[in-house]
Symmetry: C2
Subunit: 330 residues, 2 copies
């Protein structure tokens, strides 16, 4: 461990990836890359929460097939989501009967699970770990903000929670891009308390982890073909660019944010996409494809998470945020 960064000795690989999204997401910029686009947000269920769970189950089934494995080959599953008590993940784990390790990192969960899985397979203690997360616009909106029926007007800084789930299989054997380094982030809170401005709240956490990563690995932005944050959105990613420039790091055209890039302009999502499913679906479709095709040789993947709850907001607290980073090499 050097600073906050751990270099993996045996280069664990991501041998499978899968993404499933809702129709609005399927019509966005990454539409051609997703494995499955649902016809509607209910996915044949009677509540949005059950649809979210079913998306996770589909992603897990899909990723095991993509990795050319069977369910019995999976040692365990690491997952989390945005719903209270991560019920989508717990119920998905019930369906598969893998040993289950529940995580909570909000929208940073994809990196938290991949990083932990990489460390666990690297020492040979287990062979194949499924990592998964997702989110659903309608479940997140009504849990964190307002009842959907209110039809509240959305402020200009708001982001649109992605309806989608992504899953990866991490293993020492098989083919795929390697996870070569992981940087676990600290909880950073610069005092933003607006639940409709997650980008501004999370940008300082991305800055903190990015600085820790560059310093401990003695790398700079140009050393990566792609540096991609999770869901800072338009405003948050601009703030991050400014914050990094203040520290002497210039983020150029090789930097992007999944939230900022996710939807088309005419889809009216204001500051862009968010949610645990945002970077999980982009990572497990577009980014994995480009890594597998070796168009990207080295990627720094940095999902951010806003760790707030309605309880802490109601009690006047500001929004604590976290960002975990992993380095992928093809």
């Amino acid at each position: 461990m050097q600073g906050q960064t751990i270099k993996l000795k045996n280069r664990p690989k991501i041998i499978g990836s899968y993404s499933i999204v809702g129709p609005k997401e399927g019509a966005g910029n990454f539409g051609d890359y997703f494995d499955y686009v649902m016809k509607n947000d209910f996915f044949g269920e009677d509540t949005f929460e059950k649809a979210e769970r079913k998306m996770l189950e589909s992603a897990i089934t899909g990723v095991i097939q993509d990795a050319k494995l069977q369910t019995k080959d999976i040692d365990f599953m690491m997952a989390g989501d945005l719903l209270n008590q991560i019920i989508s993940s717990s119920y998905a784990a019930r369906a598969f009967q893998f040993p289950f390790l529940g995580l909570y990192g909000a929208c940073s969960t994809m990196a938290e699970s991949l990083a932990l899985a990489a460390l666990l397979v690297d020492e040979g203690y287990c062979k194949n770990i499924v990592c998964s997360t997702g989110s659903h616009f309608s479940t997140a909106e009504r849990q964190y903000r307002f009842p959907l029926e209110l039809g509240n007007q959305r402020p200009p800084t708001s982001q649109w929670t992605v309806t989608g789930a992504g899953a990866s299989v991490v293993s020492l054997n098989g083919e795929g891009p390697s996870i070569t380094m992981v940087t676990f982030g600290k909880v950073v809170d610069w005092g933003v308390n607006d639940v409709n401005n997650m980008g501004a709240a999370m940008a300082p956490a991305a800055r903190d982890t990015m600085l820790a990563h560059f310093k401990s690995t003695k790398t700079k932005p140009d050393d990566y073909d792609l540096i991609v944050t999770g869901d800072l959105g338009k405003l948050g990613s601009e703030i991050l660019i400014d914050l990094m420039e203040d520290e002497g790091y210039k983020l150029g055209t090789n930097y992007g944010d999944c939230g900022q890039m996710y939807f088309r302009r005419e889809q009216k999502t204001l500051c862009g996409a968010s949610g645990a499913g945002c970077c999980a679906t982009v990572f497990n479709s577009y980014i994995m494809k480009k890594l597998r095709e070796k168009q990207y040789k080295k990627v720094l993947f940095m999902p951010t998470g806003a760790l707030l709850s309605t309880t802490s907001t109601q009690q006047g607290d500001t929004i604590p945020c976290v960002c975990h980073a992993i380095v992928l090499e093809s």
Copy 2:
């Protein structure tokens, strides 16, 4: 990995432990063993949620001292709690500025964090990891069940959420009992949907992990000086004894349940104690003391967690449960 069990090569140690509880808990059966008993449940804060967070912060400060370390020696912190979006843990992490890995395993979190920490330090990737969890009667009651002001009558199967927090430091260096094996559990749900009967809901998960552990390690109950479940309570632990007897395993006087043993009869807690703080405070006081004094040589510690949320309950779902096990040797 043998079945669901991983044997650790380098015997990582628990080099520090700390427990803090509320006054009712301090008057219970383990009262003499806790490090700190609060004068009241507010702990100088204006909300119970902030008191819960402050307990976690105190436990973390306390455990670092007990391990004779300084904050700068801690590589990262693994924690979770029962509140939505594990806010108590996230805010505690903000106070310390350790890299933070959020977990959610409900009342099984103490074992989930210790098991993961043991695996991570075992391969030498990091040196010292703080593991922590806790719960608060008043925050859990009003989040999961009813407003406190209602003064609802409690059904006979109900348990009393412990107000308390526990923390451990896991390391390869230093003195303390070793974590020699970990068994990660599956999500088990036998259809109980009564949020006032957690013991019955969780007993099948304890059975599943206990069977997996005994089978994969070729051990039997007599091989342990103490087998201790987390918070099955009086009813749940009796159910577990019956379920294990059906499978040919006799749990004798070396078996106990933290929830069942926690309070005195006259404290009127019906089926006993529960909550993530229940086994966390017993483990980090009584059990650790007996291991350090070598009165116990081999302990099987098996906290259980009920992974429900009010949302899933309101949507008619049953309660998914999990149990993770670790083996400690002095």
